[in-house]
Amino acid sequence: MKKIALTKLDELFAAIAASKSLYLPVDTEKGAKYTAWTEGAKLSEATNTVRSAKDFFFPQVEDMASFKVEGKKIEVIDTRKEAEDFVVFGVRACDAKSFEILDSVYLVDPVDSYYASRREHGVVMTLACSRPTETCFCKAFGIDAAEPAGDISCWKTEDSLLLKANTEKGQALLDSLSMLEDAEDTAADAVKAATREIVEKLPLSNLSTDAFGGDKLSALFDSDKWESLSESCLACGTCTFVCPTCQCYDIRDYDTGHGVKRFRCWDSCMYSDFTLCAHGNTRTTQMQRFRQRFMHKLVYYPANNNGVFGCVGCGRCMRSCPISMNIVKVMKTLEG
């Protein structure tokens, strides 16, 4: 375990930013947002960022390839570049877990090279929560807010930042930071206990997942509660947008005037054209689309991933949904 005084945080960030791009949550008018570090940037105290950290590895829009078209001829241009080294600081335990969930989609054969390159070049420095709030329910999915994963885990005590490397990549970064001092391995115990004590008292901490999982497919799919649950869904896709584990994408072509750019962008199963084919649509009603999103997280994903759920309990959908629908309401209604 290493430590640095909180008064010297700027020095730490400057040292990291000297060799790699550094991003951290900074307060803006619209809430906390991951921002590239510049001198004087202040680390947000917010429980979490408005948008998740998935952008770092799975950006909202990215180029895939280009084509030159001339008469009947086509040339394929591989426009990929190896990602540059970067560090993202202040990732919470829930978002750190979401990376594992994205990994099990994008890093399984055939590996997604765009995502893989960013994962290889990114160092994730997590920060344990000190003030989990009433919209947090990571504990329901087996996540410990006081013990976040990542390449380096950090804890904030009253006067210091404690840092522990979990991977070789994390260790290499810590080794390069000469201003760090040694700390006792037990130095974070008190703040961990304080966080866990708050988590215990949170209203959603004991949300049960017993009614869900890969083996509950037909009972849940056929539930008559989907109709009423989805009735007021506007199909805006905000839940998908802010969700750290939503990873569906679209591939589109764009004629630049000098050629064709093929790019991918986030997509949402909540949209009516998501499954639209020339010959028809497999999900014609919003109820079916709504059901797909929650079935994916609570049943289909666990069925394919040894029971791990596709939700990390970050609570963003709860805060962002314009009609106040969210996964907790869905779970409680289906279960009850």
């Binding site: 394929v76 090279s113 497919l217 064709v260 998501f274 049943v299 994903y301």
Partner: protein, 275 residues
Amino acid sequence: MREETLIPKIGVVTDIRVDTPDVKTFRVVGLDGKKVFEHIPGQCAMLSIPGVGEGMFSITSSPTNTEFMEFSIKKCGCLTSWLHMMEVGQQITIRGPYGNGFPVESDLKGKDLLFIAGGIGLAPLRSVINYVRDKKENYGSVHIIYGSRSADDLVDYQEIIDEWMADENVKVDLTIDRPQEGWDGHVGFIPSFVEELKPDLSRTVLICGPPIMIKFTLDGLKKMGFEESQVYTTMELRMKCAIGKCGRCNIGNKYVCKDGPVFRFDQLDELPNEY
């Protein structure tokens, strides 16, 4: 950078056959004049015209064809309309092969086979039919029941007449939906035609066609005594990535692009009825 399946290769269209008023069969090779990749019958490829879009198509030629791949494509949307406007020599992009394919080297080996196809549904089955014909020592007899709206809508008609009907190991029964001048063959829908023909219950069945045809044919087969576990079909849903990552072609926890497109009906029974 590592290999990326999402970045396609170039294919050249070397021949275009007009099969029906809305189906054309395109012959495709790589820039070097050879096959772009090898495949298993029932597998698919992503074809695209840059700037228009990309779509998944079954490879209708058999892997035993060592020279080229063929795609029978029905004009029914934006991309397929563009593909139908192509001339010989046009380049397209191609990537694959994707999907599981039919179990030609395992479960189908040594079996008597019954193929039931409706309209363009013959395209994925033609790959298996020609594969089985080329390797007839490994399979039993072949019975093909094929139907279409009209005689003009039968895909691969010349090949059916010249090659399949001439093959002594193959029995072909054709039908069209409505009577038509110059047609002296069977008239009627496929499900009732199958029931009339009383196919041998020991056959393994491979079926592909419009969803409504599949549904009624399967009901009829079950009534005759066929088990769901001896009937295979191949599915088609909206796809973007073709490798189980973009998230849109799922039926329950299975992705049609990588876990399918070939499924047995007893396997489909375990999945939600959302296809």
